[in-house]
């Protein structure tokens, strides 16, 4: 890089948004902590503190991102700054991958090791014989060692439709990006709106699926390791899709305001990366949670 690229690196002024964000996280942590700790009695104000924290962090994001957008629109950012943002987002997504890896790890461990061991595999015959001789190792684990039962979720029907929706949305997101790079604004709006629509329908169908699982299949969060991994993986994925959809909506509003140029559209790029990431996670989920 030449010397010139560095001279314009923008070091922002003092900002109150980070401390607002820290306070928001404090409220979220203490609110969620006290809400969960008092779950059985339903007492306490934890839920309200949690909501206040979430409201504060939304306010912070709005203010902080406004600052960044204004600085960017004012031309204060260099190519080097753009690279900082891009690298930052890439590594953030990598850390998200590792978060999901923990839950996939738990799923694989349960399927490959702990459930077969509980069924007496390897040198665990006595464990099985003494503790739960009735237990049959199987996956989905529809009958746990302590005898509670549930029903497996099939991959056809809603999950398959959802897979098609989300894969399509990744394609439409890519089309939107290509349209932006070619400065075709109408096409950009169309593809972006389609992506948002597909994401929203996915989320609605996910809620329908959960209702079906709770009401008809007796498959709940507490249904043994099968229900645990099912809901934690699909649930965290759903939260990420929700966040991704909100990001896409913000991008849509910014496109309507005339933001982004073919050369300068980091926020759009980051949202698009994030969207592809949740899509890839879903493909893994579909294979390992639903099909296999």
């Amino acid at each position: 890089m030449s010397n010139k690229d560095y001279e314009t690196y923008y070091v922002p002024e003092q900002s109150h948004w980070p401390i607002v964000g820290a306070l928001a996280l404090f409220l979220i942590a203490i609110g969620a902590g006290s809400y969960v700790a008092n779950l059985d009695t339903g007492e306490g104000v934890g839920g309200y503190i949690l909501l206040a924290g979430i409201a504060l962090i939304v306010y912070m994001m709005f203010g902080w991102f406004s600052n960044v957008i204004n600085e960017s629109m004012a031309g204060k950012y260099s190519a080097q700054m753009d690279a900082s943002f891009r690298q930052g987002m890439s590594w953030f997504i990598f850390s998200e991958v590792m978060f999901f890896a923990a839950f996939f790890g738990a799923l694989f461990y349960a399927r490959m090791l702990s459930v077969p061991w509980l069924g007496g595999e390897g040198n665990n015959y006595e464990t099985w014989n003494v503790l739960w001789p009735e237990f049959q190792a199987a996956w989905p684990l529809i009958k746990t060692p302590d005898g509670s039962t549930t029903t497996g979720m099939g991959w056809y029907g809603l999950p398959l439709i959802n897979t098609i929706l989300l894969l399509t949305s990744s394609v439409t997101a890519h089309f939107a990006h290509v349209a932006l790079e070619n400065n075709k604004r109408a096409s950009l709006k169309f593809w972006l709106a389609s992506t948002i629509l597909l994401g929203t329908v996915f989320l609605i169908l996910q809620v329908v699926e959960y209702q079906h699982a709770y009401a008809d299949l007796d498959l709940t969060l507490a249904s043994g390791i099968y229900g645990n991994t099912f809901y934690m993986l699909t649930g965290f994925h759903g939260m990420h899709v929700t966040l991704g959809t909100i990001m896409l909506i913000v991008m849509f509003l910014r496109v309507m305001k005339g933001h982004f140029t073919p050369e300068n559209h980091f926020a759009f790029q980051a949202t698009s990366w994030y969207w592809h990431f949740v899509d890839v996670v879903w493909v893994l989920l579909f294979v390992f949670v639903y099909i296999l």
């Binding site: 980070p18 590594w91 349960a110």
Partner: protein
């Protein structure tokens, strides 16, 4: 210390002082709350970690007071457990890690010729989460039923089925600490990848920068896994899941696998930056370049890679399949190879060097020797059949305190002494520094060395009472502990004294010091390298 030829460069470093927006410094508390300056944030991290060191240290004093003699005398067993738990959590997440992040903040931009960290506002956020997170953790000690009492490793089912009412607070405190660490790590990575001065290729970076670069990768890879672990603890405790409960198809051992997949890289997160520090100080006080720079880089990377495939050596006694025990034993022993390369290179750097023994050098030499002792006891623990005897005894406690206290903490002291002149503009009181070193050096060995014998003789860790035959060694351990704790007050006095007054430090405060940070004035101007220097 007479070869100061940098006046021109340092003027150059901030010549556009007045054109720059962020140059005006706020005063009072606002400066610290709203700052985007890497030096301010580095200072905040360092002071925070020192306060946490004293807090966690006070808890260690409670532990040692209780263990001074056999029998229960001072605290209840449950409170004792809370002390060991919170002592561990505070020292790991509150003292050592933030101290390293503080050093990274202060030094990396100056060492690579950058105007600041790449994402200055994110940097501020990363810091200010921490006081809140530890506020929650400490507050949980005063809640009904007490704070976390399951050990800093929070093994299930201690943290799930048998935990007290405050586990939810522990979980969310760890969550926001993790957010802080991940954002801090992303900032370090982006700064190093993107902000190096022209001409500074990766293999020209100071080794200090290299070790923080690799450490930051470890952080973004494993802190999310910790977040996943505590989330599963939360749902197992409060939402009826059974990840760690065999009755529902899970497995308590699963907890240990996921936790140590985080936990083992975590211990390298706490030692790799220490390698970077002594690789800076030893050449400076030997007046010789570091021996084997590139092998140091590759050794650091190898250790980081290996740290991901050794986690189950913490779990040899859980009844793993034999193939697993052998795999993890051999991989663990393999780590001794790159670590040996490092120790060899430090010693080779000293070989025929013109060594002088200022306080940073004393701490660095102590680091090399005492960390190696901790490394050797680690090698002993790596051997599966031997570990069956050592597991969960004081031998393990001795091992990890040698690597974390005489390793990480001593390296942090070395770093603080080495760069205090650059930070404050004053030379510290060398006599007081040497006093701090010798008091710490002697007391820390009285404190931790007898723990090896206690462990080999079979004294289990995490107990408030013990059999009579362990009484004599425990008395010595406690005396060493109190002395080591008190010795740190010398350090506090020294730092305050150095900030307030002292001999004016030159830009290049040490004769043998190398690196861009010594080309700017002491104290370093509020903004450095607004225009990057050219590195040849």
């Amino acid at each position: 210390m007479t070869t100061v030829t940098d006046t021109m460069e340092h003027v150059d470093g901030h010549h556009d002082h007045h054109d720059h927006h962020a140059d005006h410094k706020m005063t009072g508390i606002k400066r610290w709350l709203l700052t985007t300056n890497h030096k301010d944030i580095g200072t905040l991290y360092l002071w925070f970690s020192f306060i946490m060191l004293l807090t966690g240290g006070a808890m260690a004093m409670v532990i040692r007071a209780e263990l001074f003699q056999p029998g229960l005398q001072i605290v209840e067993p449950d409170f004792f457990n809370q002390m060991t738990t919170v002592h561990g959590l505070i020292m790991v997440f509150g003292a050592i890690m933030p101290a390293f992040t503080g050093l990274a903040n202060w030094m990396i931009p100056m060492m690579i010729g950058a105007p600041d960290m790449a994402l200055p506002r994110l940097n501020n956020w990363s810091f200010w989460i921490l006081p809140f997170a530890f506020g929650i953790l400490l507050a949980s000690l005063f809640m009904e039923g007490g704070g976390p009492n399951f050990g800093w490793t929070f093994y299930a089912p201690l943290s799930t089925t048998y935990s007290n009412g405050s586990t939810a607070f522990f979980v969310f405190a760890v969550h926001i600490m993790g957010i802080s660490s991940i954002m801090g790590a992303i900032n370090i990575i982006v700064t190093i990848m993107n902000m190096r001065a022209p001409g500074m290729t990766y293999m020209k970076m100071p080794l200090f920068v290299w070790t923080f670069f690799i450490t930051a990768y470890l952080l973004i890879a494993v802190m999310p896994v910790l977040a996943g672990t505590v989330t599963m603890v939360l749902t197992d405790t409060y939402f009826g899941t059974s990840f760690f409960d065999a009755a529902g198809g899970g497995d308590p051992v699963l907890f240990q696998h996921i936790f140590w997949f985080f936990g083992h890289p975590e211990v390298y997160i706490m030692i790799l930056p220490a390698f970077g520090i002594v690789s800076t100080t030893i050449p400076a006080f030997c007046r010789k370049p570091l021996f084997g720079y590139s092998s140091m880089v590759y050794a650091t990377a190898s250790i980081a890679f290996l740290s991901f495939i050794v986690w189950a050596h913490h779990m040899f006694t859980t009844g793993m399949p034999l193939a697993g025990e052998l795999f993890f034993m051999y991989c663990t022993m393999l780590i001794a190879v790159p670590t040996g390369v490092k120790v060899f290179n430090w010693v080779a750097t000293m070989w025929r060097g013109a060594i002088s023994f200022e306080t940073p050098m004393l701490f660095s030499i102590a680091f090399v020797i005492l960390f190696t002792i901790g490394g050797f006891s680690g090698l002993m623990l790596a051997m599966t059949p031997v570990d069956f005897q050592y597991h969960d005894t004081y031998f393990v406690v001795a091992h990890f305190h040698y690597v974390l206290v005489t390793g990480s903490l001593f390296s942090i002291f070395a770093a603080v002494y080495y760069w205090l002149p650059k930070w404050t503009g004053h030379m510290y009181d060398e006599k007081l520094g040497k006093l701090h070193f010798w008091c710490s050096m002697i007391s820390v060995n009285v404190l931790f060395f007898p723990m090896h014998f206690l462990g080999l003789a079979g004294m289990p860790r995490r107990i408030p009472d013990y059999a009579l035959q362990f009484a004599d060694f425990n008395k010595w351990v406690s005396i060493g502990g109190f002395a080591f704790g008190l010795s740190q007050l010398i350090f506090l006095a020294l730092v305050i004294k150095c900030i307030r007054a002292g001999k004016q430090a030159e830009a290049k405060s040490w004769e043998g010091a190398e690196g861009l940070e010594w080309t700017v004035a002491s104290p370093a101007p509020y903004h450095t390298f607004a225009t990057p220097p050219k590195v040849d």
